[in-house]
């Protein structure tokens, strides 16, 4: 089982690197959707010994929200804004992947340094979580498109979700569901904001949102 979880975590990291190197928004959304589904499966696998109704519910919620609902919301925004490519990001795709590798190194180092003993006894969990967290942040900073930034937020949430599921003690279910609900509403709110940006500006490039200064 442990080998299987490790493969899963490696896939998560590969998806992170892929996100950094892809320019087509649709592909990015598909990758994030796959990552979301993996998280659902990961939640169940990480707790095969003590699988409770609480964990099963959280896994199902993550699987559906991150695997299907968020990508659908983003997909709709793409169609409305009729954009398909991220043009001229602040940091190009090849440098982004190289930065991603550096982030991976940093995550492995930080994972070893932080006294976060993983509840499921797999050392790769914390680095994978940190790598996903950093990738999300990188996307928010290095890309200009509002949709990619929203995607970055989802990836950041995914990273935190891994930390929450795998290495921290049991959090009451009500809190976990509240958090998932908040994340969903956040994506929805961002979707509406992107709709307004597109209507007011006829584009969703955040570097061209420059009317407010000083």
């Amino acid at each position: 089982m442990i080998e299987f979880i490790e493969i899963l975590l490696m896939l998560l990291i590969l998806f992170d690197l892929a996100l950094l190197g892809v320019s087509r928004l649709k592909t990015c959304i598909t990758i994030s959707s796959l990552q979301g589904m993996l998280l659902g499966i990961f939640t169940v696998l990480a707790h095969t010994q003590g699988l409770t109704l609480r964990i099963a519910l959280i896994a199902a919620a993550a699987f559906v929200l991150k695997g299907f609902l968020f990508p659908r919301l983003l997909g709709r925004s793409i169609r409305e804004a009729s954009v398909s490519l991220e043009l001229e990001p602040y940091i190009g795709y090849i440098p982004s992947v190289i930065a991603g590798l550096a982030l991976l190194g940093a995550s492995l180092w930080l994972g070893a340094k932080l006294p976060l003993s993983s509840a499921i006894g797999i050392p790769l969990v914390v680095p994978a979580a940190l790598m996903t967290f950093f990738t999300g942040l990188f996307l928010i900073i290095a890309r200009k498109n509002a949709l990619t930034q929203c995607l970055g937020y989802i990836i950041v949430e995914n990273g935190i979700y891994i930390i929450g599921v795998a290495s921290v003690v049991e959090i009451p279910m009500l809190v976990e569901l509240g958090i998932l609900l908040d994340a969903s509403v956040a994506v929805l709110v961002m979707g509406v904001a992107i709709y307004h940006i597109n209507r007011e500006f006829d584009h969703i490039e955040t570097d061209r949102l420059d009317t407010l200064k000083g």
Binding site: S117, I140, I160, V168, V169, I171, P172, V175, M190, E200
Partner: protein, 505 residues
């Protein structure tokens, strides 16, 4: 006790339910009135609960997940004050916007609904004993208030909304990581799932928390909640959001939303201090962020062209002062809490006045607003007095709280901090006076247009905060002193409680 619990449930749930009612009502004016009535009813219920806290001790709800102790009761009191004042103001402000056609019926209803939801979300933050629920509440305030900024959709307001959502959401992600790390640091305590994030449980066994993890957690929490509080360098959303939001919303943002996030940080300070062996590590971080915010705000205030933007940077400065007070400990904590109250009242008034003057002059540009005192004696006078209070002119109460913080810094022999604080405050003082004098007195190039209709409620909105600020500056009632002392005691823990006893201006 039973009635206090019922009152608290009502205060939490009433705004949430009325929010839905407001969005479903047929007209904007009726929705605004219902919202206003709901806020006063909530305030009444809230006051019953707050009174019970000081008479019989903390009120607990939902098997200890929600509670009201002296620290949250103090903040809740400030919240209710800000919401009541701002709701009446919103009624007047949006009444004018509806008359001039700058706002339509749908926007009025949406505003009323979101305003009630914002009140419910902030109440949830203050009542949470569970740190996870606290996070859920503060993230909910971000999501609800995002649409309050662009309630009147324009290019600028949409841009400000986007910055606010993306920056604060990332900040909240940091805060959540911090919350999880706090949970992880309590692993050694073998707590059950019900207790693991309960603040009261963690406080009682704080010495058993893993120090290295809790330090990492506090950094995440400070960056996360600090983003929402507007601490520099995470403040970049704040000036835009405050400028673009309608004035009642700006007043709420500055008056209490920032303090809500500061309140979350206040809850963590005693945990971190106890876990790290009261080395003052977290306090030094607070001093650093506080000082940096004051200086950054002072630098940006030098070249402001927009009245609301100037007030927004002033908020960053005052949040910095509060953080500095918390970092200094002892008398500083007492003064920081006093400053929270003073700043909430004063900044609410300043944004009220700025908003009405903006409506009269049709702009917020400082060089175009001239002779405000002549054009509207009530609001011009209100803005003049509010800005004087904000820059720390005696005998307003902000002078007293700033003076106490400076005294705390001098007592701790932090002379560099004191000098930088004085330099920051001095810069803001000079620049603000430079903006204020022409704004109030200079002859308007457009002659003397009509003064608008005078409404008695407007005078009350100006005089109530002003008299409060003046009275608190001259004399602090014994009851308020003990309220502040009890709240400060929760943040300081037992070690510095003796230093706070007997302190009052």
């Amino acid at each position: 006790m039973y009635s206090a619990e019922t009152a608290l449930w009502c205060a939490l749930l009433a705004p949430f339910c009325i929010g839905f009612v407001c969005t479903a009502l047929p007209g904007a004016r009726i929705a605004l009135r219902v919202m206003c009535g709901c806020m006063f009813a909530t305030a009444l219920a809230g006051c019953i609960a707050i009174q019970a806290v000081y008479k019989t001790g903390p009120v607990r709800l939902a098997s200890g997940w929600l509670f009201l102790d002296p620290l949250s009761a103090f903040h809740y009191g400030v919240l209710l004050l800000v919401f009541c004042l701002s709701s009446v103001y919103a009624l007047l402000y949006f009444g004018q916007e509806l008359r001039t056609g700058r706002m339509d019926r749908r926007q009025g209803r949406l505003f009323s609904g979101l305003w009630c939801f914002a009140c419910a979300a902030m109440t949830l933050v203050l009542l949470s004993n569970n740190l996870g629920i606290m996070w859920v509440g503060i993230e909910a305030t971000t999501l609800v208030t995002a649409f309050l900024i662009c309630i009147q959709v324009s290019r600028q307001s949409v841009e400000a909304t986007w910055k606010y959502i993306i920056i604060c959401s990332v900040g909240m992600a940091f805060a959540f990581t911090g919350t999880l790390l706090i949970g992880a640091s309590a692993k050694g305590l073998q707590l059950g799932s019900h207790d693991v994030l309960l603040w009261t449980v963690l406080r009682d066994s704080a010495c058993g928390l893993e120090p290295r993890l809790i330090q990492a957690a506090f950094i995440f929490l400070l960056v996360g909640y600090g983003t929402k509080a507007g601490l520099a360098p995470m403040h970049s959303w704040l000036p835009d959001a405050h400028t673009q939001a309608p004035s009642p919303v700006s007043a709420l943002f500055s008056g209490f939303l920032l303090s809500t996030a500061m309140y979350c940080i206040m809850r963590y300070i005693p945990l971190v201090e106890a876990a790290t062996g009261t080395t003052g590590w977290s306090r030094r971080l607070m001093i650093g962020f506080g000082m940096f915010s004051i200086l950054i705000a002072a630098v940006f205030i030098v070249s402001q062209k927009n009245l609301k933007r100037f007030l927004a940077y002033s908020s960053i400065e005052h949040i910095g002062i509060i953080a500095l007070g918390l970092g200094l400990g002892g008398v500083g904590v007492f003064a920081a809490l006093f400053h929270t109250l003073n700043h909430a009242v004063c900044k609410t008034l300043a944004f009220f006045a700025a908003g009405r003057l903006g409506q009269l002059f049709g702009t917020y540009e400082l060089r175009e607003i001239k002779g405000a005192l002549h054009r509207s004696p009530v609001w011009g006078g209100g803005l003049f007095a509010a800005i004087l209070a904000l820059i720390g002119v005696a005998p307003f109460s902000l002078f007293m709280s700033e003076f106490l913080i400076l005294k705390a810094a001098m007592d701790s022999s932090l002379f560099l901090v004191s000098a930088l604080l004085l330099a920051g405050l001095g810069t803001v003082f000079i620049c603000a006076l430079g903006y204020l004098l022409p704004l109030c007195w200079q002859q308007s190039p457009h002659g003397n247009p009509d003064r608008g209709v005078f409404i008695t409620a407007e005078a009350f909105l100006v005089y109530i905060p002003l008299i409060t600020l003046l009275a608190l500056g001259l004399w602090m009632p014994e009851s308020l002193q003990s309220i502040l002392r009890e709240a400060a005691h929760i943040i300081s823990g037992t070690t510095t409680a003796s230093a706070i006893a007997g302190i009052g201006p």
